[in-house]
Symmetry: C2
Subunit: 216 residues, 2 copies
DNA sequence: CTACAACCGGACCGAGCGGTCAGGTTGATA
DNA sequence: TATCAACCTGACCGCTCGGTCCGGTTGTAG
């Protein structure tokens, strides 16, 4: 996707190595997280360390390329779900996909930490994902399937929460997240319950003092 | 608590410095997480780096001392709540306290990652906390206030999830976790909902193949 | 007051990190 | 096939980290 943004066409071996690096780094980050050293990734790819920095200015750029790809895939899946017949179960399906992405790829979850402040590319991909989530949530809300004060942002953040709740035991109980996602889903579905605590709004209401958030 | 376990009495200045180090490290880890260097902590305490390693064999031991203290405080608060009149709201109160501990102290949350495999001291403190949570959950379960398949372990893990869901925006919306704790609480309260997905049991049922967990 | 063990400080060590660069290698072009 | 820019490599750099160690300092027991 972002591969062809190169100003000039790459030489055949260079293009091959770039792909190889992207794949190797993705697999390695997915398994061990983004703390793996560049040297280790180069070693696994059977290339020199310098080659990595020829293709990516620095480590963050490499991480961003991979994480953005994952986030955009999830966004795309979410967009496809906008056509589903049942909006509420589409939303649940989306959340399930979201947790699966994380449990398959540690780097995605780690990148989420930088939602507030981080790489601009990841920031943009996150915004896109928020948009998709909001659209899905909107549909479910209109249907009356979920509480009417849930936002797309809530959905994304809670989906991360479900994964991270189960993370400490992920090695021994790999699918524990399904349990916690079910709890959270139930919490979102219960339309009869009392309204959620205030700090909800994606854009700050003018009257409120501290509940607001940056971006819109 | 763990302070008097020393084999011999400390010299006055040594005891003072130990306290100072513990307090400084706790405050620093709380604010910046456990990645802060030992040198930085020593600097803040106005002591030499060597002094830190005189009192704690290595960095992990220092972290463990502080995190265990926090976990035990939470355990104690939970134990006190066992006497509350309403078991269900006592459980919710406990969960609120748990998230507050984390949002006040980043190191506690980070330590949770090592629930599966980590420092034996933290492991023990975690087990104690699980016990307290289980007792509180048991009462609420008996009362019928929450679903009957929720365990103490679920409560602890979900409480971490609530914090981590809100964490990315914690700087700009400090109390967002209340919102997500409310969602999770609703999910736990809904006694009418379908039973939670399987991987629940604290001890593996003999018939199940992979749902089990280590320890009991 | 003396003497000494306990204690303190910070220079020092080795390992590992992200990132650079000179020099050898190779794919495209004509 | 000859040429050369693009490419690859791994030694190297500067930095930070956890942890060690020894010479100087200080609390305290007798």
């Amino acid at each position: 996707m972002t591969a062809e943004t190169q100003p000039r066409r790459l030489r055949a071996d260079a293009a091959r190595n770039r792909r190889l690096l992207l794949d190797t780094a993705a697999a390695t980050f997915a398994e061990y997280g983004t703390e793996v050293s560049i040297a280790e990734i180069a070693r696994r790819a059977g290339l020199g360390k310098g080659t990595v920095f020829r293709h990516f200015a620095n480590k963050d750029e490499l991480i961003a390329a991979i994480v953005c790809d994952q986030l955009d895939r999830l966004s795309a899946a979410g967009t496809a779900l906008l056509d589903a017949v049942d909006p509420t179960s589409a939303l649940l399906e989306f959340m399930t996909l979201g947790v699966e992405v994380q449990s398959r790829d540690r780097s995605v979850c780690e990148a989420g930490v930088s939602i507030g402040v981080g790489d601009p590319g990841i920031q943009a991909a996150t915004d896109r994902l928020f948009g998709t989530a909001e659209a899905l949530t909107e549909r479910a809300r209109r249907q009356g399937g979920i509480r009417d004060d849930v936002t797309g942002q809530d959905v994304i953040l809670l989906l991360r929460g479900a994964y991270q709740a189960a993370a400490p035991l992920a090695r021994t109980v790999p699918e524990l997240w399904r349990r916690y996602l079910a709890v959270i889903a139930d919490g979102l579905l219960s339309t009869t319950a009392a309204p959620l605590p205030r700090p909800a709004s994606t854009r700050p209401r003018p009257t409120d003092r501290n509940d607001g958030m940056p971006h819109g």
